[in-house]
C-alpha cells in the first residue's frame, strides 16, 4: 500500500521537529556565550582533573569540576553537608515539612531533593579556612603527642595530617560551595566578583543525620548539575601534551600541570576558553 497524505504529514512534522529542536539548542548555546561571561576563572588541574575513565569505548575527553565544602566540625573539610546548610536555609531553599507533619522523617517532607543554585568560591576565605583547619588539627595532634609521647597511633595520625596540609597547599581543590539560593541573579549580585565566584545549578538532598542530640533529616549537596566539562579537540591536544610532560597524576607534593580558563555564560553553562601550562 502506498503511503497516504497523513503519513507524509507525519514525516513533514518529523523533519520540522528535528530542524526546530536543533535550531533551538544551538541558539541557546549561542545565547549562553554572548556578552561578558557571568564567571571567568583560571582553574588548575586541582579543580579540573582529567576524567580517567569515561564510558566504555568513549573517545572523548572531559574534566571533572572538583569542589568541596566546610562542615560544621572544626576540622571537617570535603563534607557534602556544609555548615551553612542549616534548617533555616533549607526552608529558604523551598524545603517544607509535609502538611500536618513536623519535620523529621523522610516521608514527612514534601520533597527529598530540590534543584537550587550554588555559589562556588575559588581560592577565597573558605580555602584559607580549610588550610587553618588542617593546621589546627596538626596543633591538636602535637599537643596530644606531647601528653603521650609513646603513642604510635598519634604519631601516625600526625603524619597523615602533615600530608593533608601538603595536599591542601598543592593538590586539593580550592573551589568551595559557600552558599545556595533559588534566584541566580540575586546570588550573582551578592557575589559579584566573576573572577572568584561562580553560580552553578545544583541539587540539595535531604539525608538522615542528626541535629543536636536528635535524629532528623539534614541537608546535603547532592551534586552540581554540570560537573563534567567537555574538552574540545583544540584544547585536548594541549592538555594531552602537558599531561605527557609531567609524569603521573598530581600526587602529594606535585604541582598541577595545566591551568584552564573556564567561563560561565548567561545560562550558567561553562566552556573552556583556553588552556595553558600551569605557572605561565
Amino acid at each position: 500500500m502506498k503511503p497516504t497524505w497523513p503519513t507524509y504529514l507525519l514525516f513533514a512534522l518529523g523533519f520540522a521537529l528535528l530542524a526546530a529542536v536543533n535550531v533551538l539548542v544551538l541558539s541557546r548555546v549561542e545565547d549562553n556565550r554572548k556578552g561578558t561571561p557571568d564567571g571567568l576563572l583560571w582553574l588548575t588541574e586541582r579543580e579540573l582533573p582529567v576524567i580517567d575513565r569515561l564510558e566504555m569505548e568513549n573517545s572523548g575527553m572531559a574534566l571533572r569540576l572538583v569542589w568541596r565544602s566546610l562542615g560544621s566540625g572544626e576540622t571537617e573539610v570535603s563534607n557534602r553537608q556544609p555548615a551553612w546548610l542549616t534548617t533555616e536555609k533549607l526552608h529558604q531553599l523551598g524545603f517544607r515539612p509535609a502538611v500536618g507533619a513536623s519535620s523529621g522523617q523522610s516521608g514527612q517532607w514534601e520533597a527529598m531533593a530540590r534543584e537550587v543554585f550554588l555559589v562556588l568560591e575559588f581560592n577565597g576565605p573558605a580555602y584559607l579556612d580549610a588550610m587553618r583547619r588542617a593546621e589546627q588539627a596538626l596543633e591538636k595532634e602535637e599537643e596530644a603527642i606531647r601528653a603521650n609521647p609513646g603513642d604510635k597511633s598519634l604519631q601516625a595520625s600526625r603524619q597523615q595530617t602533615k600530608k593533608r596540609i601538603r595536599a591542601e597547599e598543592l593538590t586539593l581543590s580550592r573551589l568551595f560551595a559557600i552558599d545556595a539560593g533559588t534566584d541566580p541573579r540575586q546570588l550573582r549580585n551578592r557575589y559579584s566578583n566573576p573572577g572568584r565566584f561562580i553560580v552553578v545549578q545544583g541539587v540539595i538532598r535531604l539525608v538522615a543525620g542528626s541535629e543536636g542530640n536528635r535524629e532528623s533529616m539534614v541537608g546535603a549537596i547532592d551534586s552540581v548539575s554540570i560537573d563534567t566539562i567537555h574538552v574540545p579537540l583544540e584544547h585536548r591536544r594541549t592538555i594531552e601534551a602537558l599531561v605527557q610532560q609531567g609524569k603521573g597524576p598530581p600526587g602529594e607534593g606535585k604541582t598541577p600541570r595545566y591551568a584552564v580558563h573556564l567561563a560561565y555564560g548567561r545560562r550558567l553553562e561553562p566552556w573552556i576558553v583556553t588552556v595553558r601550562p600551569f605557572g605561565e
Binding site: 514525516f11 539548542v25 579537540l233 553553562e269
Partner: protein, 358 residues
C-alpha cells in the same frame, strides 16, 4: 467492506483460509455440497480478493508465508536494535578525534538521514520491515543528537529532552506503523509527565521515581488516549492500555508495601492498606471491564496484578511463621481457585455470546 490496514487484510485472508478448510470438511462429511458453478464463483472471488490484498498490503496468504513473516519480523527487530546500537557506539568511538564543528554537523544530520531512509522505505517497501528498522535507527540518532550536543556544550540536563524524544518516537511510530517505536514514545512521554509531576510538587525532576504517585497522571492520560479509536493502527490502542495499567499498578504495588514514600498525610500502615485495597479493587474492575469490552490485554494485566497483590499479602501475613510447604500449598490452591473463578467467568461470557447469537 473497506479494508484500511495490513492487519485487517491479514484477518480477512486468515478468514478465507479457515473458510476453505471448513468447507472441505463439511463437504467431506456430506453435510453440504456446493454446485460446481457456485464453488468456482466463490473460489474465483476469494482468489481475486487475496491477490488484491497481497498486492496492496503484502500479506501472507498461506501458513508457510506466515511462518516466514514471523521470522522476518523477529529478524528486523533484532536488526533494528543491532543497527541502532552500532550507530551509537560508532559515534562514541570516534567523536573524540573530531573538531566541534564536524561533531555538530554529524549529530544534526544523522537523524535527518535516518528519517529520509524511513520515508524511502515506507515508499518503496510495502511490508514495512525496513521502515520500522530505519525508524528505530533515526530515533536513536535523535537521542544521540540531543544527548551529545548537551555534552559538547556542557548543557544542564532537562526533562524537555524526554518530551522531544517522545514526540519524535510517536511521529515515527504512526508514520511507520511500528509498535516498538510507540512503546518507546510512551515510555519517554511517561518519564516526562512524571518528571513534570515531580517538579510541580517541588521535587528535582530526575528524582521523579522517589514518589510513585508521580506516575498516575501519565497512566490516566494513556488510558484516555487508548479510548480514541485507532482504526488504521491495529494494536496501538491495546499498547496504550497495557502501559496505562502498568503505570498505574506498579506504583500502587510499591505504595502498598512502602507507604512512607507516599504524598498522603496518613500513618504508614493506613497508606499501605489504602493502596492494597485500591490495587485489589482496580485489578478486579480491570478484569471485568476487559471481559465486557473484549480487551484481552486488560484482562491479562488485571489478572497478573490481582495475583501479585494477593501473593504479596500472603507473604506479609504468613511467610515468617508458616512452614514453607504450607505457604506454597496455599499459593498453589489459590492459583487453582483463581483458575476455577476465571473458568466460571469464561463460561458466563460464552453463555452471553450464545444468548446474543440466539
Amino acid at each position: 467492506m473497506q479494508i484500511r490496514s495490513k492487519t485487517e487484510a491479514q484477518q480477512r485472508a486468515d478468514q478465507i483460509e479457515a473458510f476453505r478448510a471448513e468447507l472441505g470438511i463439511v463437504e467431506q462429511e456430506q453435510i453440504l455440497a456446493l454446485e460446481l458453478g457456485q464453488r468456482a464463483a466463490v473460489a474465483r472471488y476469494h482468489d481475486q480478493l487475496l491477490h488484491r490484498l497481497a498486492a496492496a498490503f503484502d500479506i501472507d496468504v498461506t501458513s508457510k508465508e506466515k511462518q516466514l513473516s514471523l521470522g522476518m519480523r523477529i529478524t528486523s527487530s533484532l536488526g533494528a536494535l543491532g543497527l541502532a546500537a552500532s550507530v551509537f557506539f560508532f559515534y562514541f568511538q570516534y567523536w573524540g578525534g573530531l573538531a566541534t564543528k564536524t561533531q555538530v554537523i554529524i549529530l544534526v544530520t544523522m537523524p535527518f538521514g535516518g528519517l529520509l531512509c524511513t520515508l524511502g522505505a515506507v515508499w518503496l517497501e510495502r511490508s514495512g520491515y525496513f521502515a520500522k528498522l530505519f525508524g528505530l535507527v533515526s530515533l536513536v540518532c535523535f537521542v544521540l543528537n540531543l544527548a551529545m550536543l548537551g555534552r559538547i556544550f556542557n548543557l544542564a540536563p532537562t526533562s524537555q529532552a524526554l518530551l522531544l524524544w517522545a514526540g519524535f518516537a510517536f511521529l515515527l511510530a504512526y508514520a511507520a506503523d511500528a509498535r516498538l517505536l510507540l512503546a518507546m514514545g510512551i515510555l519517554s512521554c511517561a518519564a516526562y509527565l512524571s518528571a513534570q509531576a515531580a517538579t510541580w510538587n517541588g521535587c528535582y525532576w530526575i528524582s521523579f521515581g522517589e514518589r510513585p504517585e508521580h506516575f498516575f497522571p501519565a497512566a490516566g492520560l494513556f488510558f484516555l488516549v487508548s479510548c480514541i479509536p485507532h482504526p488504521r493502527y491495529p494494536g496501538f490502542a491495546a499498547l496504550y492500555r497495557v502501559f496505562a495499567l502498568l503505570l498505574f499498578f506498579l506504583p500502587v504495588l510499591v505504595l502498598s508495601n512502602w507507604g512512607e514514600i507516599s504524598y498522603l498525610d496518613l500513618p504508614r500502615d493506613r497508606i499501605e492498606a489504602l493502596y492494597q485495597t485500591i490495587g485489589f479493587a482496580i485489578s478486579g474492575i480491570a478484569i471485568v471491564l476487559g471481559i465486557v469490552l473484549a480487551w484481552p490485554e486488560v484482562v491479562n494485566t488485571g489478572n497478573v496484578f490481582f495475583t501479585l497483590f494477593l501473593y504479596t499479602k500472603f507473604y506479609d501475613w504468613w511467610w515468617d511463621w508458616m512452614p514453607k510447604y504450607q505457604f506454597f500449598l496455599i499459593i498453589g490452591l489459590t492459583a487453582i481457585g483463581m483458575l476455577l473463578l476465571l473458568k466460571g467467568l469464561r463460561r458466563f461470557s460464552m453463555g452471553r455470546l450464545q444468548e446474543g447469537t440466539a
